[in-house]
């Protein structure tokens, strides 16, 4: 992010957040300040993919883990927002778990559609990463650092991808109803809750119902993966951001002639479009997306 736009982002996210200017000239969120609550989001590692878009997805995930482990203050947790594997094979889950187990911070993971392929996908995912599981169905919520976190599952419901379903929505309504309007809310899910590109499967069919439940909160942040690039969106007091992948980029939504899927970029520029996100939470959440080229 360029400095000017990042400063604009500060104004947008509100007061109460400290920033530091790094030796590299980049403005960093204050992930070096002890006492500040922070977490990290990573996404879309597609362990098992090998092709022109990335010939070594394990190496780029390893590089991501090393960069997070080198943060001056470790995050409270690292959340992987899905598509840990490419086609839900046991060997892919094993490889991913081996690499991610090297994280110094605790790991949470929610599945993407690539992690729930076939009858064995979801059981393998659960065996590899366990699940916080308040409802017995995989979705969950918890309170940490003064924030109410919710991890949703919006893949794996038969023919439809990007759907929460009435059972999960009913649980979410009850879960959020117990929170005061000034509680900062952070929601995780794999597929974006808002319509980024429905024709590419980049939306959650019943996402508007979840969004409606967030409207009464003074600060709500929705963080997703799935589209392998950063798209930010604001709807009232609700802020949305999709994350970069650790595996490969995809075309920008609406690119003429493009389709979703692995996108090969020029040699030497791959690390610049892969990365992770550090998130600080003070009055509200603010985030910084760091490419692997930056470290």
């Amino acid at each position: 992010m360029k400095r000017a736009s990042f400063l604009g982002h500060i104004a947008w996210t509100g007061a109460g957040i400290a920033f530091v200017l790094g030796a590299d000239g980049l403005v960093h969120a204050a992930d070096a300040s002890p006492g500040q609550f922070s977490f990290v989001q990573i996404s879309d590692s597609h362990i098992g993919y090998a092709g022109p878009a990335n010939t070594d997805v394990r190496a780029t995930l390893e590089q991501t883990v090393e960069a997070i482990n080198a943060l001056p203050v470790q995050p409270a947790f690292v959340i992987h927002t899905g598509d840990v594997t490419h086609v839900s094979k046991m060997t892919e889950f094993d490889d991913a778990r081996t690499i991610l187990s090297r994280l110094r911070a605790p790991l949470l993971a929610i599945p993407g559609e690539h992690d729930v392929i076939g009858a064995q996908g979801l059981p393998r995912f659960a065996a590899a990463f366990g699940r916080r599981d308040a409802a017995g169905r995989g979705w969950s919520s918890w309170d940490q650092g003064g924030i109410h976190f919710v991890a949703l599952i919006n893949v794996g419901e038969g023919e439809t991808m990007g759907v929460l379903g009435s059972e999960q929505l009913a649980w979410l309504e009850k879960d959020l109803a117990a929170r005061t309007a000034d509680t900062p809310i952070v929601i995780f899910g794999h597929v974006p809750l808002f319509a980024v590109a429905p024709e590419w499967g980049w939306t959650t069919a019943d996402g508007t119902k979840a969004i409606a439940l967030l409207r009464r909160f003074s600060s709500a942040t929705v963080l997703n993966g799935h589209i392998h690039q950063i798209v930010e969106h604001q709807d009232g007091a609700i802020r949305f951001a999709t994350a970069r992948a650790t595996a490969f980029p995809q075309a920008a939504p609406g690119t003429p002639g493009a389709k979703p899927g692995p996108l090969a970029v020029a040699p030497g520029s791959l690390l610049g479009v892969l990365g992770y996100r550090t998130v600080e939470v003070a009055a509200g959440a603010s985030w910084q997306d760091i490419s692997l080229a930056q470290g």
Binding site: H114, E159, T160, M161
Partner: protein, 108 residues
């Protein structure tokens, strides 16, 4: 060619199952996020092979979940024998906008 003719001639004297196995393969290619052909007609008892030509992963999964190729990466294929007559619709679980149909006609 002679060998093929001999095989066909021999097949005529084999049990019905063996004749079916010798029928030309019926293939659906998965290419550019679509099934080709999108609709395919086969005879009951024939085997259909799904081949993924794309760099992206795909599945061929019956809408009623009665069969599932599971994840196919580029160059991988999966075959399934369709025993019963009827129309079967299917999709790709990682690309829900991809749909295909198989019309299985009675072998008689």
């Amino acid at each position: 060619m002679k060998a093929l003719l001999a095989a066909v001639a021999l097949a005529a004297f084999l049990p019905a199952g063996a004749v079916r196995a010798a029928a030309p393969p019926t293939t659906v290619h998965i290419r550019n996020d679509a099934f080709f052909p999108a609709s395919l007609t086969v005879k009951a008892g024939e085997t259909v092979t799904f081949i993924n030509d794309d760099d992206d992963a795909h599945t061929a999964t019956a809408d009623d979940n009665s069969w599932d190729s599971e994840g196919l990466t580029q160059g991988q294929s999966w075959s399934h024998r369709f025993a019963k007559a009827g129309k079967v619709t299917y999709h790709c679980t990682v690309h829900p906008f991809m749909h295909g149909a198989l019309v299985v006609k009675s072998a008689r």
